[in-house]
């Protein structure tokens, strides 16, 4: 059955990319593998006839969040100093995965042969967004604006308070006037 084959291929690739993103040593490689996992999830959304969500996933994750992660890696000179993994974390995660898989496996109503429904067109979603979901839409717009303003405020270099800090003062590059006076 071609649908199942594509599901197995895409799901395997996505899971492999996610494992690589969490297990590789080089942080840039991890970020690139995470981008692959996000793209695979977008393909799964498309396979489930959720075109709008799939393209939103590509725009937001493969586009914006990936660039944000790569810039953060570059700005922090990403390197993982100690490569010792914590075995307790793996044990807790494996226990959680076992519980989730058991929960799905032991629910008989999930295993019936569900017939797929027709997808939603972008026109339907747009109509619902501006009629039924108008208040959440405006709230999300407000949230995004305030969150991005907050992110800029947090990441901005605090010039007034930092000049009195001797630790930062030493690393300040020499000003042009100082360079001229030195030469």
């Amino acid at each position: 059955m071609p649908h199942e084959l594509t599901f197995l291929l895409v799901a395997g690739a996505t899971l492999g990319a996610a494992v690589a993103a969490m297990a590789l040593r080089n942080i840039v490689h991890c970020a690139l593998a995470a981008i692959g996992a996000f793209a695979g999830l977008a393909a799964l959304y498309l396979q489930l006839n959720a075109e709008f969500a799939g393209f939103a996933q590509i725009l937001v994750y493969v586009g914006a969040v990936a660039i944000l992660i790569l810039f953060a890696v570059m700005l922090t000179h990403g390197s993982e100093a100690s490569s010792s993994t914590r075995a307790s974390g793996w044990a807790v995660a494996a226990l959680l995965g076992l519980c989730l898989a058991l929960g799905v496996g032991r629910s008989p109503s999930l295993w019936r042969d569900a017939k797929p429904a027709a997808g939603a067109s972008a026109r339907q979603i747009g109509g619902a967004l501006v009629s039924e979901y108008i208040v959440p839409l405006e709230t999300v717009g407000l949230l995004l604006t305030s969150a991005l303003l907050g992110a800029v405020t947090i990441a901005l270099r605090e010039t007034e308070t930092k000049t009195s800090d001797p630790g930062i003062h030493e690393e300040r590059p020499p000003r042009a006037s100082e360079m001229v006076s030195r030469s």
Binding site: M22, A50, F71, T76, R157
Partner: protein, 104 residues
Amino acid sequence: MNAPLAQYLIFSALLFTVGFAGALVRRNAILALVGIEIMLNAANLNFIAFWRFGPHPEALTGVMFVIFSIAVAAAEAAVGLALVIAIYRHRRTAQAPQFNSLRG
């Protein structure tokens, strides 16, 4: 195997587990955030799968929830990475175990 909903749910559970393990194990704060994003994405896939194979696919609830969830996750990623950069500027490290100024 012709139970597509259970397939998607099991795949989503595995993906959530991978993200959870990464968020717990990785020491770099950026990679912990990537793990959290993978967990959020696994939850989104559950919403889409339940919407698609559920009894009322004409209600659009699953797709709407995923769209708003993607927007909130984008805001979360922006603020989280800005925090990592701000902490890096003070402590010269992005390793989460060394963010211990508040340890009692």
